[in-house]
Symmetry: D2
Subunit: 306 residues, 4 copies
């Protein structure tokens, strides 16, 4: 089996490697040709110089193109550019982090063009190469069936870590919720560890405690494994900025909760904690400080006060 992989970044590059190892032939393309060549050398992947070149190298017969691109415009534009290069029955897979509503719309539009579509929520990060990826697939039955060997090659094992969960869009929907949960779990852990650090009287060792919890506790988890690992070397984190980025899925999960009218306080607050970390101005705090002054004559701390 053979497919084109467009986008060989942290995710796409390792997926190409894992596919090659799993017996799937990959034609790889990335704007960074050094990356293309390096992965080709390492893994036997077929390099290509452009999207057209990549598609051409898939040869005759049904063509399969897997995209690992940033969501939004890059993915949208790539799909549009691919259509004229493909024939009826060919399949485009979006393995990136697209909004599931975009995937529903794109799937419907591609169907009108006679093309198949699969949205594949892909989890596993930089550890996927070694451990396999967790693949949440939205597609029609025939498309999902066609791509089963590819999914098995990427997943941790033949039986586990991949599933055709529902119609087009449901793969990215499932990934979106997965990431929402991830935000909540991370925040829970960060808050707990913050309270341990804050209990100065006990002078506790966060590296020791997170390592301890990995064995037999109720909170043992992969996120805890990584946290314990990170804290081993440095638990002061003096050089790390108190800034947490967020990405589309966390935000979309909260919007989904609003649209459904279903409370999701923990997922929402986990996202908002990240917003707070990104807010350098603290305007709402300034307002509160002014209000307190207004009714109580309370002291207003000025910039520069200690």
């Amino acid at each position: 089996m053979k497919l084109a992989m467009l986008g060989l970044g942290k995710m796409g590059g390792n997926m190409a490697r894992r596919l090659q190892k799993g017996g799937i032939e990959v034609v790889g393309f990335d704007f960074n040709q050094d990356t293309v060549n390096q992965i080709a050398q390492e893994s036997g992947m077929i390099p290509s110089k452009s999207v057209e070149d990549a598609v051409a190298k898939l040869g005759d017969g049904q063509k399969i193109v897997w995209m690992m691109l940033p969501s939004g415009e890059p993915t949208e534009n790539q799909i549009k550019a691919l259509v004229p290069l493909l024939n009826k029955g060919d399949i485009i897979i979006d393995g990136g982090n697209s909004n599931y509503k975009d995937s529903q719309r794109r799937g419907a539009w591609l169907a009108e063009q006679g093309l198949g579509f699969m949205d594949c929520g892909t989890s596993g990060g930089i550890w996927g190469l070694q451990n396999g990826y967790c693949l949440m697939v939205g597609a029609n039955d025939d498309v999902a069936k066609t791509l089963t060997p590819v999914l098995i090659a990427l997943a941790p094992s033949k039986e586990n870590g991949w599933a055709h969960v529902g119609p087009i869009g449901s793969g990215h929907f499932t990934k979106m919720i997965h990431n929402g949960i991830e935000y909540g779990m991370m925040q829970a852990m960060a808050e707990g560890l913050d309270l341990i650090k804050g209990k100065e009287e006990f002078n506790l060792d966060l590296a020791q405690i997170t390592e301890l919890w990995r064995h037999g506790s109720v909170v043992r988890s992969w996120l805890l494994d990584l946290t314990a690992d990170a804290l081993k070397d440095d638990q002061e984190l003096a050089a790390v900025a108190p800034y947490v980025a967020d990405s589309g899925e966390g935000r979309w999960t909260v919007m989904e909760s609003v649209e459904q009218g279903v409370a999701a306080p923990v997922l929402t607050l986990a996202l908002q904690a990240r917003f707070r970390s990104q807010d350098a101005s603290g305007y709402s705090y300034k307002l509160l400080s002014m209000m307190r002054n207004g009714f109580g004559g309370h002291f207003v701390k000025s910039v520069g006060d200690k």
Copy 2:
């Protein structure tokens, strides 16, 4: 009627003034004798040089001592120091922001000493002198009855703004909840205004909008009046530090919710927003940034990065 007022700060000082205006004779004491003398001159309050002096100047008959002191040790110690100076049937009033459980304990202990006690939650801040104070009274019936003329003198009017809400402790309990609600209302307003400021496309004038809302809107309120007033001169608040202090009542309200097992998400989050404003280290954010790096190879912003 005559009473001693101990503590002539922002609250106690103005209360002494209002009592004098209302025909209640006040013997005032504060460690700051300049304050004592100034208020005495302004209002006709009888000055005193010590707590003993103040109590002595109350003369014979039933003595009434009103404390406006910081909660915790200062109030606790003052009560203990007062007991030997008083006689059976005399009354101590705690008009400060004590924890209601302390007031319950103190009331019971003073009853054993033959002394009456009243806990009076006092709202109104620096505007109380002019507008009158809102007084939430916990006391036995006879004590509350004895002090009615005093309450009327402090309140906005004879009929309004004072009430004997329940037994000893219930005055401070009611004030505690009042402040919890205040935190929530302030936070709601600050969040909304923050979103208005964040909508740069519209370039809205927060002073205009808060003034507008004062008339006929659903959110009209005294806090809005003060906010509109503060924003009139300066809505950038460039010189104000993004730091919001918190006081006992906000924290006790959240603890009450935990003890009762009753959800109070908005009161809690309003308090936690203040905690966040006070947290210069952002350790939990650093942890989250490290975790993201651990599983996703995501960029970790360093201190000093833009």
Copy 3:
């Protein structure tokens, strides 16, 4: 001055009455002709039998049509239906609760048709007839100027309670945030009162306390006035279902916070409390109960257990 008022429900009907009283001639239309006739009789409003009839009765010259319709399709469809009935320079006002992005889109489209548009966030509810409405206006300068007499007639006074806050869309935006703040304030109050009720030991009287707080306290507000009024007759609320509806603005405010990436925990949690009240199934609670059983062998309460 003369205008057509389309939609004479709780809001539109009273606005027509107030306009008539304020010297603005109103041609009123509603699908319920009984309502039309009643308001016409009461207030001197000119009745009409259809939108076409209403527009025709505006006579020659610049026509002004004020809509008080449910947001979404009813408003969208009415605007489309109005365009062929109007001439260059005529003005449509949307005084309902539309999403500000819809108003931006509609304003731009109407401008292409040569028509003016104003979005007017309208607060004041059933009390607006008596007190005047708070009007948050988004419009071009000339449109806002033309409509000034109308705004003054609706507002509490000539000087107060109406303002041209910014370009088209900004009126509904400002109203959206107003409602978001309203949700937060209401929730703060409800949580506080819930904790007072939960403190059974004190057996406090919520009607007394809310009335007390109206005078001199920091939380005094119109919402408190209404709450005190409602609790006067009945504080058990035994017949009231524990169900709180929500409307578009509360949800849009949370989405705005997500889009801006600005934390608004209190506004969000206030909305989610309503979602929770609407959730009869409690599926998330069931899941939690099952999880607890899974790791701890904890008892799972069954439906019907006490």
Copy 4:
């Protein structure tokens, strides 16, 4: 090595079994003598008929008594009752879920009596017998050293799953935070799954998805393992009441956050979601419904309305 185990419930009983298997002699006591006899028969544990009997059967030399009792009064009373039965240098271990401040107080008091104390936060639930327990130990160095063989026998392995984290109290403190994190992780998962179920359009299979996530995803965790297992048989949970109990540690974690002045929104909201599930009356919702009626004339749903 030999110790007495007081309390042979779900936790204590299995710990006695695991200790026996690990070569530690256990003298077991429980008020339920059937339980005592059954475990004795199964595991070779020495049965006892009373606490006095259990202590006596420890023989001469240093005595070690491990309590697995409900926190609060049962633990407090047992400690007091043990003191006269023990000699200088003997050790009491509290392996239950006590508040860490109680453990600090008890440890100090026992030290005055010449007795050693260890607080051991114990995680692992009903799976501990098979997998080993995660043990978070607060104690003086010599006590911790003495008990190391016991800890190793209970833990998953010699190297992992037990640690002497700090002074007396810090074991229960660490367990408290562990449980706080557990609440947050559970809630995150429940919210995400609730949103998946709420997306009726996709008709997703929660059992399939949770099983899928166990392999290679970022949220893989023991809690997910248990959730997937529970959903395998029944994902409707029709017979499960939407009621989630909570225990001391979750509440104490929130109080710790208030005392430290450190925001922990996710841990707090996870607790409050449980409170909400326990609240049959919904009084705060009733208040909100009344307020909406007060200003907007909005319909108030009555009990019994659909």
